[in-house]
Symmetry: D2
Subunit: 332 residues, 4 copies
């Protein structure tokens, strides 16, 4: 960590700061220039509050030289991680996660599961506990929904991923292969800490307004507890643009490749909010090097009624899957 | 709710949609223009998924005419709400909430409490459970911190507000007068639902990237459960600007005045992240009509060492409090 | 245009508004519901100030049903436009625009031009007039730079695209095949109007904080003047993320496909600001259906010294071009 | 300027970089730590391209220690600047700039001018050349509008400020006391350079997505040309919030106070887009220490018809002006 002092700082202020830094168990390497002094802080700086130091009157700027995350960092773990989700090796080849937004009926979820399996999907997604902006909106089928997902898993052999909103629902998740942490809970640190002690893979979605570094820090919360089976997922960030629901930040893929060894999945369905935009963005994700995509697929007649929503039909998904496989061959 | 169809929609598609809307227990008032049809949806639209309808192929745009929140809305509750926090009536006059960011020692928290009381503060703030970006940063004194807050309350008579990060810590909060929900948990719906059943006021902080409407929907989650003692708090939003930690959105004050009856508190300390910016923004908040401000104050020698951080000294707070009271007189 | 009135608007206010709208040469179709009235405004609404009407006390919301742009809209021009840039047909097949950020020396620009031509590039880019944040930074070689571009064009036969910052430099641009309008000038309306009378193609870059609709409105400024040879270019938008210089919004590609007939080019070099991110984002752009990419390439030893900057080397560009062509075949 | 190298950089790469930096006329102070090397760049770094250096493979981070602007910086000009606008000293006391958005008729502009003068306004604003998103919207009365402003000036003695969109209109601006550069032209560098040679004050509006540092760099463009009479104006930035047209960033006031000696004006009318929000935000601006406010006022019956738009009536402005003066006394 580098701490640049302001110009013309009184000598005794500078020395007080250095003494205080040393009480934090940091080595301090002082480099005095003509105009200003630069302090190099040596040791375990991951617990240092850089904002606090930067806010001090005599400090110009503080910059980390090593990243604030360790277990998630590629620096200490150069090889790509592969996460085993019920036998599917995420991070090895291209993984397709597909399924309906919400679990609604046995017919729906089993029907969709069969059709996506036929198109080559590897993992079934589906929401049982639903985070909704309004308390008056449908909140999901909850434990009933989890049972229907289990049924679909039994029928098709597809492992399942579904969202956990509170750690105290965990005992309902026995048959779930991968626990999803939704965008709104990405910085629910109590939940993350608990997931650090769970022996299941976690699919961690980036929050709507969270930086890539914050995403990695949230992964670090889970990994610091001992659970290193973390999959990262980009699902769009909030910007001023309103033509799409959110702005899918695909540059996260090469950026994460450099910074971390964890697998990266892209969810173009929630990002764009519109089915016609999903296939081009899914193809782009694969071209940019994603380890997989997560796509909403349904065969629900209400939606089909108007050909609408953000979900693809099973046929559209099947055609898209073919193209994604071909692009993967080009880029790998 | 108004639903504008696209031009040249086939008659049968339009009718299918209308039939489906009616199955959702909505009255549908159809207005056919020369080029397009406008549907007025009548009844309880608060559970309707506007995004889903807007995503349908034949729909141009969906707009709510009534707000999606009810209990929080000024429309159904025209008079300003006043929330009783341990005898302090928030929403009646100008409330000062002050105290240290984190509770550290008895000496610190009791010392600060006494000094802010002398300057006219009404409520003591202080963090015992701290949401930190890094798992390696100090996570707060937890139950020990709560005990120190109680001590400061006993010594000064000031009611206390402090953050709850998980509902399962609730039994430790018996002596807490007002529960804070932090910005990162604003859409932790399971937590909000539980707080709907608690008989304590809740200070709900706006998320870093949440709209004013989403803030009100989160308030609605708590209120829908029966707990109507909600205080709203702006603490800065995330924008492209980096000169301040976040961008304090003071226009939220008059906007919330029009939309809701709930009291509005401004936290300029977290928004700006720099003590020299706190007084001007606190004065601005009062001038714009805030019901109160929440300000970090400490008398910690480490910080005082370099005159730094985002916290004011007790003396700075005292001078600021005087000016805020004078401005309040001008605008009320 | 649909104008939804508030509930309980006095009859005479409503009638005044309708009379006033009619004086604006609009037909008004009134639909009175139980609670509120909806006005359908018929006629040429492209000059109507929707913000003004929405700001009126009795108006809830105003929404355009037809887009505010006409010449740029796919609605009135269903077939894709192809723009002839010195014989290169942009919008037909995949176009590669490449070259150095700034024109520096004859050796540099001619050298780069030859190498990119060998790799299959179609158009040479290079800045002669440079918009720089600081008045003290290098402002480009100006007319001297334009002469060097001409020389490179003569040597290679590649048409050239370069930025025009002020219409009064236009007579220097005789040998330029396509005029670039930079992101900072996207809403310099006086410049756009003048370009409407110029008989050269215009490459219009999206502003850092401009919506897709605003980009199309700026295209409309040029087209309304008679010059319909407009090429749109995405080069990243400003968001809270700092890991990349800007956030490349690739979803603009399918969104523009639906809204306009104009060709769409992606510039991953300026968006990401880092050469290692350019190839994955260029491949993603092609996978999402872009008509072309614009990529910085240099063979400048100063940069090569440290393998750095956002520019690719000629060899890197050549390898990338091969992959882009293969992906294009998959998606078209 | 501080340049932190990555860890484990080969010695010869490091030396090559240092040699190259020295060819840029920079002194280089090398500080080698255990793990990484820090270079202090000494000399005139305002022309150095920090982005380029940061993009080099061996460089971790580059940070300016001195600001990239000089003439605008308070560091070299500690006293507040006062700008003389037709006899009104902006930066000395509290300045009110008021008037209609667009100049429409003699009756309108003279009528408004008289009424705002009676309420204590110091400068008349009014748009003659209007930057409009749509080429089909009203573009202003242009030279005719300037003549009406002159007339209002003659009748009331109020100096006038109005927007210049192209330097080639300058000879029409003889009677204008202060030239406004609109938000969309904040980085139209050719315009800024020309204004550096004009002997009139310039009111420079912050762009919708421009940082405070970029605003100061644009001021520097004008000042570097010799015209130091620059007034800065905040008019709202673009964020994800849609309840207000833009988000008024009032923290710019204390931030600019620290960084620059130039006067700061706030425009709450364009920022909020809604008249009911203007008075609270204007009061907040004064409380935060603004040198003045710029407020839209009209007495146009079409608007008055529905009590609407973002403009205040003369009576509302008069009441607001009284309160602003009182708050100014409290904070100064």
């Amino acid at each position: 960590m580098i701490c640049v002092l302001k110009t013309h700082v009184p000598q005794e202020k500078e020395e007080e700061l250095i003494r205080w830094l040393k009480t934090q168990n940091l080595g301090v390497h002082v480099s005095r220039g003509e105009k200003q002094t630069v302090l190099g802080l040596i040791g375990d700086t991951s617990a240092v509050d850089a904002d606090l130091i930067e806010s001090l009157d005599i400090v110009e700027v503080v910059r980390r030289v090593s990243e604030p995350y360790k277990t998630a960092s590629r620096q200490f773990h150069p090889a790509d991680s592969v996460v085993d989700v019920g036998g599917v090796m995420v991070g090895e080849g291209l993984t397709f996660i597909a399924g309906p937004c919400s679990v609604e009926t046995e017919e729906q979820v089993v029907g969709v599961a069969k059709s996506i399996k036929a198109s080559g999907a590897h993992i079934l997604r589906g929401g049982a506990f639903k985070p909704r902006t309004s308390p008056y909106s449908f909140q999901g089928l909850k434990d009933e929904g989890l049972k229907l997902l289990s049924l679909a898993k039994k029928e098709t052999g597809l492992p399942i991923v579904t969202e956990l909103m509170d750690i105290y629902h965990l005992d309902l998740f026995d048959d779930v292969d991968c626990i999803q942490v939704g965008a709104r809970n990405m910085q629910n640190y109590e939940l993350l800490k608990e997931l650090g002690h769970v022996d299941k893979p976690v699919l961690l979605k980036r929050g709507l307004a969270n930086t890539i570094e914050e995403l990695l820090m949230s992964a670090e919360y889970i990994m610091a507890g001992g659970n290193e089976k973390v999959i990262l997922c980009e699902r769009g960030i909030r910007t001023f643009e309103t033509a799409t629901r959110n702005t899918l930040d695909l540059s996260i893929i090469p950026v994460l490749r450099e910074k971390t060894h964890l697998p990266v999945i892209i969810d173009p369905s929630h990002a764009t909010g519109k089915s016609s935009l999903v296939p081009p963005m899914a193809l782009a994700a694969v071209a940019a090097g994603a380890d997989g995509v997560m796509i909403e697929v349904h065969n629900d007649p209400i939606h089909a009624l108007c050909d609408g929503a953000q979900s693809l039909t099973p046929d559209q998904f099947s055609a898209l899957a073919d193209k994604m496989r071909t692009i993967r061959e080009v880029v790998s």
